[in-house]
Amino acid sequence: MNEDPLSPERAGPPRLPAWLLALSLPWQHREGQLGDLEEGFRRRRSADERAARRWYTRQVLRSMPAALRLRLRTTTDDQSRGRSMDSLTQDIRFAVRSLLKSPAFAVVSTVTLALAIGVNTSIFSIVNAIVFAELPMSDSETVALVRGVNPELGIDQGSVSPADFLDLGERQRSFESMTALTEAEWVLTGLDQPERISGLAVSAGIAETWRMPPVLGRSFAEGEDRWDAEKVVMLTHGFWQDRFGGRADVLGETLTLDGQEYTVIGVSPPQLEFASFSRAQVLTPLVIRRNEPNRAARYLFVSGRLAPGVTQAMAEEEVRRIGADLAAEYPEQNRGWGLWSAPVMESMINEDGRKILLLLQLTVGMVILIACANVANMLLARATARGREIAVRAALGAGRRRLVRQLLTESLMISLASAAIGLGIAVALNKTLIWISAGMEVAFIMAEMDGRVLGFTLAVSLVAPIVFGLVPALRASGLSASDALRDRGSTDGGRSGKRMRSVLVGAQVSLALALMVVASLLTRTVAYLDARPLGFDPTDLLTIHIDLPEAEYEDEGAVEQFFTLARERIGAVAGFGPTALVSALPGAEFGALRSLEIEGYEQAPDRAAPTVLMSTVTSGYFGVVGLELQRGRDFGPTDDASSFPVAVVSRRVADQYWPGDAAVGRRFRVAGAEEWYEVIGVVSDVRSGTDTETPAENVYVAHAQDTRSEMYVVSRVTTELALVAGQIREAVWSVDVNQPVGQIRTLERAQYETIASNYAVLTLCITFAAFALIMASVGIYGVMAYAVSQRRNEIGLRMALGAEAAAVRWMIVSQGAKILGGGIMVGLLAAFGLSRLVASLVAGISPTDPLTFVGVPLVLGTVALAANLIPARRATRMDPAATLRAD
């Protein structure tokens, strides 16, 4: 055995374990422990080297946990300089104390960030709901959607006809299974109240193709989609939860749909409720007759699961080929039509919508950057003011890292508080939007504060302090960023930085002005629209929507009879006045737009035919709503299907086409129709549902002569809606126990719902504008506060030399006013440009409304100047002696 102590294999302990231990241990512990192990190793080596190596390695491995524990403990020590008190808690306590000492700064910066984070979170929750929506199919990358396309008609997302679907299914080899579905509606009876429910008729392959196992029971089996099979139904998860309380024993129960009994066999999983499918309540088998001759009726949504080894491209090629074959074989119905397939991911998620949303998110994301810039400006001003405090702390032994950490902790406190408030703002904003939009099917209804949204907010609040706090913290702690700049040869870092800040703030002012102008224009438009005379009082006018299923009411006499009875019974409910029927709610719905041919009316050749809104009413309607019968008579019991067609026209129609109050007795007909109507009366105008100033041109015809199955029962009521809703339904069911009753609401509510989207847009716009105003003001405040803090010496000197406080104040204010003025000028230009874009939305005022274009800059200027005044006043309050002594 070689005894040379320097020979490599005898030189020391195994290297890898030694290196591993050295790496794990904090440096303070390396020497002692590695030394001990080496000593032990050498002692053992003289007996048995391999045993010694084993011993060493075992020691290292067993030491790992303790070594890491030691490292953890020592790292925390380093930062708190040997004190065992948790330094983070200390930092936080200190940060809170120092923020409490300057509450104005704390509040302004927190509010600034909170608004930015709130708006972002709100938008992100919408983006989240749409962009990250999950498809109802599992393994969706191997699912393709088959669509009917017709380039001539410009249809590229059309549906497929049942016969084409069957032929495709037989000829194709690309898919291991295919499925088709279509939306359907039924009247559900036998379960509480009759109601109209919607659902999907799906072919048996859906469970296989979509890999969507039922959460309860089974899916449709082969053969259950034959027309003579026993009727079975699946419930959607939502419907099952809502109506059956998620009971497992719902299987085997029966549902009566359109009068036929269906046995419940299963419950579909919640992920089916995607996009438009989310309205579905039940699923039934899709019945396709084998020899369906009509290929022109295209209504199936077709998808297929790719067979193993088949790519989307291969499937697409085959589907295209089969589509071309089918067009050649059935030219009379399929000419010009082809089939086309694409990955379901691409087809089901609206790419444009996605892009627009992401763009919106990006834009709003910029707002966070602006907010960060504003807070950074304030922090810079504050850092200068705190120079002495920081110098003292550094002199007392606080390291630079420690100081930066302390300052960043302050920033983090601001940002976390902002995130908490911002989350509240986002929730409130979403709630407001949902409340305002009155149940419209819009994106923000799906917006939820889920884990992803919370994660987003948290991430923003953690990154933001680094963005806005790092440079001020570095500068304050002495590692000056401007020094670093100077090293790179820039001698003008300060001035260009200042200019950049001024430009940024100027841009904020411009943006705020433009947004405020748009908000103001829209507010004035909505105010104008609301203020137009309605022509009647909508408040206690109750409306009940009734839509008779055509299958059961084919005969006009039956419809007429139903409504006559229903009117009687509803009118008998306590608190109801006389009832009437109308086909379109005045001021809320358009009615049918019709071109008229008017007897004896000379139509200018270059003008369009007279167009009116035609609605069907029963006698007594004008009385119920409160329209004044100005000439002639109302409809009467003699105006029925057997008598001459008659009509009542609004005052505006009468004046327009039969001037000189000569309308009664004159005739008109619907363009292209045979029948003439005779005008029997003239009633007062109602407001148009659209944004125009002029009242609607209304023509009313009698329900007895123009029987419709979808009508509103209207009546003035003197009771609360909630009290009578049940009685109204009972009244309808006493006529037809299987007839669903639609929405029951006051006309006021109906009108509100038609314009709710205006309010939603308006709210968003006002929110953004108010937000921009605050941003701009905070921006001006921050940049001026910083400027003042930079010029302390100069100002002190001026004051010491006898300058008037007012003159100094003016000097500061005018500097801010310059930025403000520049921003307003640019903003006005932008606003003029924008006003042209929104001109189509503006009604009742000019898009360059003088009140707006003078008032908005005034408001903005006043608020921003007020923000500017704070640092100006601070400048003149400084003790000249103190400021001069400070440096």
Binding site: G12, L21, S24, L25, H29, E31, G32, Q33, L34, G35, D36, L37, E38, E39, G40, R42, Q59, R62, S63, M64, P65, A66, A67, R69, L70, R73, S84
Partner: protein, 111 residues
Amino acid sequence: MPRGEYLGEFEQMVMLAVARLGDGAYGMAILDEIHERTGAEAAVASVYAALDRLERRRYVTSSVGAPTPERGGRAKRYFAIEPAGAFALARSRNAIEALWEGLELPTDGAV
């Protein structure tokens, strides 16, 4: 009595080893002492971690000695018991002994 006033078993073993070794209490010697007396083989970092903890509680102190060649030129770190440490050891022992007082447990002679 607040937690942490009594010493853990391993801490007691380490401190007792240090006490027994007197002036020669450094890492490898402590490991050997524990092994010789109890048969237990401790990991070196565990011993140091325990000593580090004890040092923070001012039960032991440490000092760095001169480097020696058999340690690959590395210095030894010597440990010594402080009066507070001796007191804590004694109290832990008293507590355990008080609990053992008059107690017989069937251990099948395995100890």
